[in-house]
């Protein structure tokens, strides 16, 4: 590879910056993402950190591309390795086309670590930073200069981005960083990477502006835009951004966003607020979600509208807090003791997060029950370009509520009145005449505790039937690929982008497939089971050890022998290439008449 005047136009690159926690890889990637987004490209970024503040391997990746992608690609175009471990850890994604920029401050890269043919630039970021600037801290700003040049960014654009990012932290810090950038550009010159002589040419194609946003922020905003005005939560990776985003924005709308003493307070305070008619949400991750189980069932039983966001991470228990997984599905669907209704929605990318959170907020209010949004660490925290949310597309529908005038017209008001649609009209506390009792005990229509068996059965049916009732309007899945194909995929959350890209790759190999991204997994929509039973075989991709999704389909009547279960739980993000390989192997076995292997636990 060499840089000359005939660089290709940048269509799809993946850049990874890797080093130790605290090295600032994320900062480099975040700024790069901003720059590319501003250049009219689409962007997807990913972080890979440990659950500690400093040290340990940490990396951040950015993919920039034209068109639509919702994951990091299988290959690394450019690796910026701040230490040797960074090269070792990422070697398997490198090939002969890859470019590696290596910080050789502590010595040269040992032989044999990178694939033959790959281009290596060695540059002592750390040494220069320490020598010239006296702070290791600046090494990533130095690195930025080389990376930017390689990727075809203009020096001026880089400087602008630095100003934008560091301005608010004061002139001194900005100046230092600009100086560091200058050092980096100078190093690039020395390495022969002059401005405009990088690997690519960037064409400013898509002039439409894009948000650069993570799933958690989209969820927060979806809630706010749907009229959500109360949020309580307790910090936990990878959900904390929901809390922090709402703490920043909700008060401007007169809302409350509060960090509570724990998750039990979080959900019960949310319930208390919801009782007043306020649209309410809480967010957490596995450990906190386990703690919330009593509250969740209570909301279902007492018919309290509540949105609960579970940003799943690798379990069980404390698990691997910063790693993605989808292993709380069972808990969302089956958690809480006793039977109660709930909806579980499964967005697939940051845009989906926004619109589904609006839906969740409306649905919770309409059906007076808990609605879960099943996120995963990648969906929660990966930052991607998204078309600006269209607020005119958003319909905010209040539930069945009674004003003081409505109540005054009634003969009788009962909080839990039986009704055709199984939804009891609701008068908020403060409404004259609407006094009522709300309880998680079994109760009569007025909310008075009752163990009368007939009442019990009716109340139970009233509550449970909401799930059947709602099916018609619960968010439908998204179908893509070759709809005539008899080979299907099912996967949720972060698998959305991976599966879409896998299908493209498979099509190139002559295997045409289709994909259903279910957006509601509870109650299970008929379309999902029909999709499975209508295929010859369906690859159900479960990011968990228990094949939770696959078994859930069986639980709901899917034929076991249609399902090829693929499970993964090593904490690594999926790359399309991996899935392509897995499917090709499976298909090859079928060709050889080995029969499919439903690795169902």
């Amino acid at each position: 590879m060499s840089s000359n005047n005939t660089q290709p136009v940048l269509k799809d690159i993946s850049v990874i910056v890797a080093g130790q926690g605290g090295d600032g890889s994320l900062t480099v990637i975040t700024m790069l993402a901003d720059l590319f987004r501003n250049s009219g490209l689409n962007v997807y970024t990913e972080r890979d950190v440990l659950s500690r503040i400093r040290g340990g391997h940490a990396a951040a990746t950015m993919r920039a591309f034209t068109g639509h992608r919702y994951c990091i690609g299988s290959k690394i175009t450019l690796l910026v390795a701040l230490d040797e471990e960074a090269v070792a850890k990422n070697a398997r994604h490198l090939d002969s086309d890859s470019v590696i920029v290596f910080d050789d401050s502590s010595g040269p890269l040992p032989d044999g670590l990178i694939p033959e043919g790959a281009t290596l630039y060695a540059a002592p970021f750390n040494r220069i930073a320490m020598r010239t600037m006296r702070r290791e801290l600046y090494k990533n700003s130095i690195a930025f200069g080389i990376v930017g040049r390689l990727l075809g960014l203009e020096d001026e654009h880089m400087r602008d981005t630095f100003v934008k990012r560091f301005e608010r932290r004061g002139q001194v810090i900005l100046d230092y960083n600009l100086e560091a950038l200058g050092l980096g550009l100078h190093m690039a010159d020395e390495l022969g990477i002059a401005e405009g002589k990088g690997l690519y040419k960037i064409e400013h194609t898509d002039r439409e502006e894009h948000l650069l946003i993570m799933g958690n922020e989209s969820v927060a905003f979806g809630f706010m835009a749907a009229g959500g005005r109360f949020f309580t939560g307790y910090p936990i990776t990878p959900s904390t951004e929901v809390l922090e985003t709402l703490q920043k924005w909700l008060p401007r709308c007169g809302g409350v966003a509060r960090q509570t003493e724990d998750e039990l307070a979080g959900i019960n305070m949310a319930i208390g607020a919801a009782l007043t008619g306020t649209r309410t949400m809480t967010a957490t991750s596995g450990p906190g979600f386990s703690l919330m189980q009593e509250g969740v069932g209570h909301a279902g039983s007492a018919e309290v509208p509540l949105v609960i966001v579970d940003c799943q991470r690798s379990g069980p228990s404390t698990g691997m807090p910063t790693k993605p997984e989808q292993s709380d599905l069972n808990l969302m669907v089956f958690g809480g003791h006793g039977d109660f209704p709930r909806f579980v929605l499964t967005p697939g990318h940051p845009e989906d997060c926004f619109y589904l959170t609006v839906d969740a907020t409306n649905l919770a209010d309409k059906y007076q029950l808990p609605v879960f949004i099943a996120m995963d660490q990648a969906l929660s925290q990966n930052i991607a370009t998204v078309k600006p949310f269209n607020l005119d597309d958003v319909s905010v529908q209040p539930g069945k509520r009674l004003t003081a005038e409505d109540v005054a017209k009634l003969d009788t008001y009962k909080r839990y009145s039986f009704s055709e649609d199984n939804i009891s009209a609701f008068a908020a506390p403060g409404t004259p005449g609407g006094m009522s009792l709300v309880t998680g005990n079994e109760h009569d229509e007025y909310g008075l505790v009752s163990t009368d068996p007939d009442n019990r059965v009716r109340m139970m049916e009233k509550r449970m039937n909401k799930m059947e009732d709602a099916k018609k309007e619960l968010p439908k899945g998204r179908l893509s690929g070759d709809l005539e194909s008899k080979i299907g995929f099912i996967g949720i959350g972060m698998m959305y982008g991976v599966i879409l890209e896998t299908m493209e790759e498979l099509a190139k190999e002559g295997i045409r497939t289709k994909y259903l991204q279910p957006r509601t997994i509870w109650p299970m929509l008929d379309e999902t089971i029909e999709f499975i039973n209508g295929c010859d075989r369906v690859y159900v991709v479960d990011l968990n050890a228990g094949a939770q999704l696959a078994h859930l389909f069986m639980h709901q009547g899917a034929e076991k022998n249609k399902i090829i279960s693929i499970t993964r739980y090593d904490g690594l993000p999926y790359r399309p290439g991996t899935l392509v390989k897995q499917v090709l192997e499976e298909e090859a076995k079928l060709m050889n008449g080995q029969g499919k292997e439903a690795k169902l636990l």
Partner: protein
């Protein structure tokens, strides 16, 4: 004051308490105080925990809520923050408030929301048949531990603003305490904590014992309920003499949580119309902040 419409709604339940239970007096005095204060039923949100005590809200005309065991305080705070116009009263037992719920109690002392919390302390778990609670004395049903004192606990939070103890056997004094608590919270002055000694005649009949032990600090010459350190000392001394201090034991000042958290230029969360577009400008600002 809004008048209630004629709409029929739930008829307050007959208490399910055993004849002689101290909780009857608590309910009676509370109802009277609410009337005195002119708090209409529809403005009253009355939340209770789980236990014999935790059924009190069913017996009163109100917006009632039966929380999970130990969670009445977070639920009450949620309600208050979402709609500060409501009079929010929380109630429950000593098990509910001092065992499973004590973490929330501690944080309510700390955060000081304007809600009244009445703990009906019978020094045992009534509803589950008399097990020891955190206020049970050493030896009650083989309880090995020393009983705790909730007023001392409240005093240990520099932000606590109202700490009182009453006795169901002294309804007049109890009334003055409930009135004072309600005045505190109606004025938005923060958390009013009121423990009421309310004997359980069935499992642990302390009526006579408590009657002889209670000691009203407010009748004491020179007792100053605004002196936190002195109140602490006095409670300790009285306990040392096997007396149970009752009365308004501490009253101080500290900003209330709802004042600190709510945006004073905006409508309260619960009072905003759902689906309104008043905040469109904020939404646009949000979107813009994520644009290039």
């Amino acid at each position: 004051m809004t008048t209630e419409p004629k709409t029929k709604t739930f008829t307050p339940a007959r208490p399910i308490w055993c004849a002689g239970c101290g909780d009857f007096a608590v309910q009676g005095v509370l109802e009277k105080s609410l009337k005195n204060m002119g708090i209409p039923p529809h403005k009253l949100m009355f939340l209770a925990g789980i236990g014999c005590s935790g059924t009190i809200q069913n017996n009163v005309k109100c917006y009632g809520y039966h929380a999970l065991h130990g969670r009445v305080l977070p639920a009450s705070i949620g309600a208050k923050l979402a709609n500060p116009d409501l009079t929010v009263i929380a109630a429950g037992g000593d098990g509910d408030g001092f065992a499973i719920g004590v973490g929330h109690l501690v944080h309510t002392f700390k955060s000081n929301p304007s809600i009244t919390y009445i703990v009906m302390n019978n020094s045992n778990y009534g509803l589950t048949k008399g097990q020891a609670s955190p206020t049970s004395p050493t030896g009650y049903r083989d309880n090995p531990e020393t009983g705790m004192d909730s007023i001392l606990l409240g005093l240990s939070f520099p932000s606590s603003t109202f700490l009182a103890r009453g006795f169901s056997g002294s309804p007049e004094q109890l009334e003055s305490l409930i009135m004072a608590a309600l005045e505190h919270t109606e004025a938005g002055n923060g958390f009013a904590f009121l423990e009421v000694l309310s004997p359980c005649v069935t499992y642990y009949d302390t009526h006579r014992e408590w009657r002889t032990k209670v000691y009203n600090v407010n009748e004491e010459e020179g007792f100053d309920p605004s002196d936190r350190a002195n109140s602490f000392k006095r409670v300790l001394e009285l306990k040392g003499e096997s007396r149970i201090p009752i009365g308004l034991i501490y009253k101080g000042e500290n900003a209330s949580l709802e004042k600190l958290l709510l945006n004073e230029n905006e409508t309260f969360p619960a009072q905003q119309e759902i689906g309104h577009t008043d905040h469109r400008a904020v939404y646009d600002k949000f979107i813009n902040s994520y644009l290039g």
